[in-house]
């Protein structure tokens, strides 16, 4: 009954002679929160870059909501309903916080390249941007250039830009990296609320975040998924413990 939102079939990716992704299979179900974990260099970020069209795959194919999106340009994949955030904060630094969010709304809300509307008059767009600012708790900093925000706020803005366009598949790349404990708790709460009813694929190093947030977890080792299961099973999986979790969890 649950359909597949994202399907990755036998994907390979090499940079020169080094194989980063090595016959990867992954299925993300509609509406689930799915985490990808794995040791450094396992290819987690590369996987995201392949799904979102940032890199072309060497072989294999990727389906988004039943459509093949392999090797499409990033903006075309985005228009088909997939949005992503970045591990290194990737915002529009010279524009205000509000403008960052509003820009992320323009394409999905149909204003595209319009030069015959004034953004000040787009009531629905502006209201939605304000609403997103409230949700990511940046409403009081709306007119500050985004580049001047504190780090945790920039991460929140990053998530805000990612979810603004109402894409139904959201990819978050280490959303809590570099955050303090309280900031992390806050961010997890934020991710939980903003991805309500959407499909989430998240790469994360913080195990408390992963086990607290994810419905299912995939473990990536040397460019392959070695296990996909619910959190409890992943915790018990011997292969996973050996490959990655080691003693700290067991």
């Amino acid at each position: 009954m649950t359909a597949t939102a994202l399907k990755i079939v036998d994907v390979h990716k090499s940079f020169g002679s080094s194989k980063i992704i090595n016959g990867l299979h992954l299925e993300v179900l509609k509406g689930e929160r799915h985490a990808v974990i794995g040791p450094n260099g396992a290819g987690k970020s590369t996987l995201f870059n392949l799904i979102s069209g940032f890199y072309p795959v060497s072989s294999g194919y990727i389906e988004l909501n039943g459509q093949i999106v392999t090797n499409l340009a990033p903006h075309l994949i985005n228009r088909r309903g997939l949005s992503r955030s970045f591990q290194v904060t990737n915002i529009f630094p010279k524009m205000t916080v509000f403008e960052n969010i509003r820009c992320a709304l323009l394409w999905p809300m149909g204003y595209r390249h319009s030069f015959w509307h004034l953004v000040g008059n787009l009531k629905k767009v502006n209201a939605k941007a304000e609403e997103i600012l409230e949700r990511i708790r940046l409403a009081d900093r709306r007119d500050i250039p985004a580049g001047l925000l504190a780090y945790a706020d920039q991460r929140a803005l990053e998530i805000g830009i990612t979810i603004a366009g109402d894409a139904d598949v959201i990819l978050l790349d280490e959303p809590t990296a570099g955050m303090s404990l309280s900031e992390t708790a806050h961010a997890v709460e934020l991710i939980r609320t903003v991805t309500e009813g959407k499909t989430l694929l998240v790469v994360e190093h913080d195990m408390s975040v992963v086990f607290g947030l994810a419905d299912r977890i995939s473990v990536l080792v040397y460019g392959q998924v070695v296990a996909t299961d619910i959190p409890e099973k992943i915790r018990q999986n011997a292969q996973v413990q050996e490959a990655y979790l080691g003693k700290e969890i067991a």
């Binding site: 228009r79 992503r84 630094p93 394409w107 390249h113 030069f115 015959w116 953004v119 603004a164």
Partner: protein, 416 residues
Amino acid sequence: MPILFRRYGIWVVAILVSGVLPLIFKSSFSISLFSQMGISIIFALSYNMLLGQGGMLSFGHAVYLGLGGFLAMHGLEKIGGGVLPLPLELLPLVGGMAGILAGVLFGWLSTDRAGTTFALISLGIGELIAASALMLPSFFGGEEGIASNRMVQLTLTGFKFGKSIEVYYLIACWMLLSVALMYLLTKTPLGRVANAVRDNPERAAFIGYNPRHVRTIQFTLAAFFAGLAGGLFAINYEIITAETVGAQTSGSVLMMTYIGGVGHFFGPIMGAVLVILMQQSLAGITHAWLLYFGLLFVMMVLWAPNGMAGLIMLHEPVWRAGLLKRLLPAYLTTLLPLLVMFAGIMLLVEINYHLSLSINPDEPLALFGIAFNARSPLAWALAIVLAAVGFFFFRKASRRVNESWNEVTQAMKGGR
């Protein structure tokens, strides 16, 4: 009412100033100066649609001014001959059309990437068109360019455009309209997304935009306004040569825009006014004016990378806090050594120009009414001393400026 004034006051002032200026300064020199400023304002603002708003550093923007000018000149010829039923007042739109056509084509070719790639391609296209200008004499008129007569039968307003003041008012109308349109463009979805693509093209792709499409459209609109300025150029001068599409014109619009400031909408307007003023007034006084202009440009790039507009906006919060008077003493103490230093440099430059360019270098050189022999060692010594002393005290005074700024920033933080 105050809100309305806050919102539209600046436009009312702009219309008044453009309308009244030529009534105060009536000489033909001033009228031609104002006309040139009007054209340059459109041109510089259109350039800033690329550089400031779209993050595209172009070395070939003259192509669109020039092509617009050439096509408009052919159009003018046709209007005069009765072939083209277009009133003269609308001729600039022909220039704009040329801009759009060239903008779509060359914009598409050059906007796949911004940065160095874009800059180099724009330089290449500039050279290409400049070379074609000499290769295709039927369109560009070869070395001597093409000329036509703006006094045609067909006009909307009844003006014959024989007097330069009539031409000025035509330019002023188009200038005000273009400024308003370009300002509104910054407030459209395209304008905002152009900023996004400038700031971070990679991320823009992940919110649904193809950076190349955004740049191409922005580029085409900028080319339209450049072409429109070209159309006004054709009407104003009644002659256009290959020089107009060349690298020097491209370089000069870059400098105007940069000196005025790329980060604020009104920056390029100030830059265009200042540069045209310098060009016209200094060129009459000294042969070395390009050198001073270059010096100004280098100084702005080094010390005021946000241009004149940036300098003004830097002081806006200080002015609002009522603390501007605390900066003034430091500024005034810096001004004196700066002038001394500049006097020294100027003396050196003028002596050298006199010695190398004058027909008779032994003739006395007159500066500010003081005549002296350019070969005299005393003059050289004085120049070097002035420059050195000025520089020494300028360094000292600029430290004071820094201190004053620190105080003011502290005071503003404390006030909050």
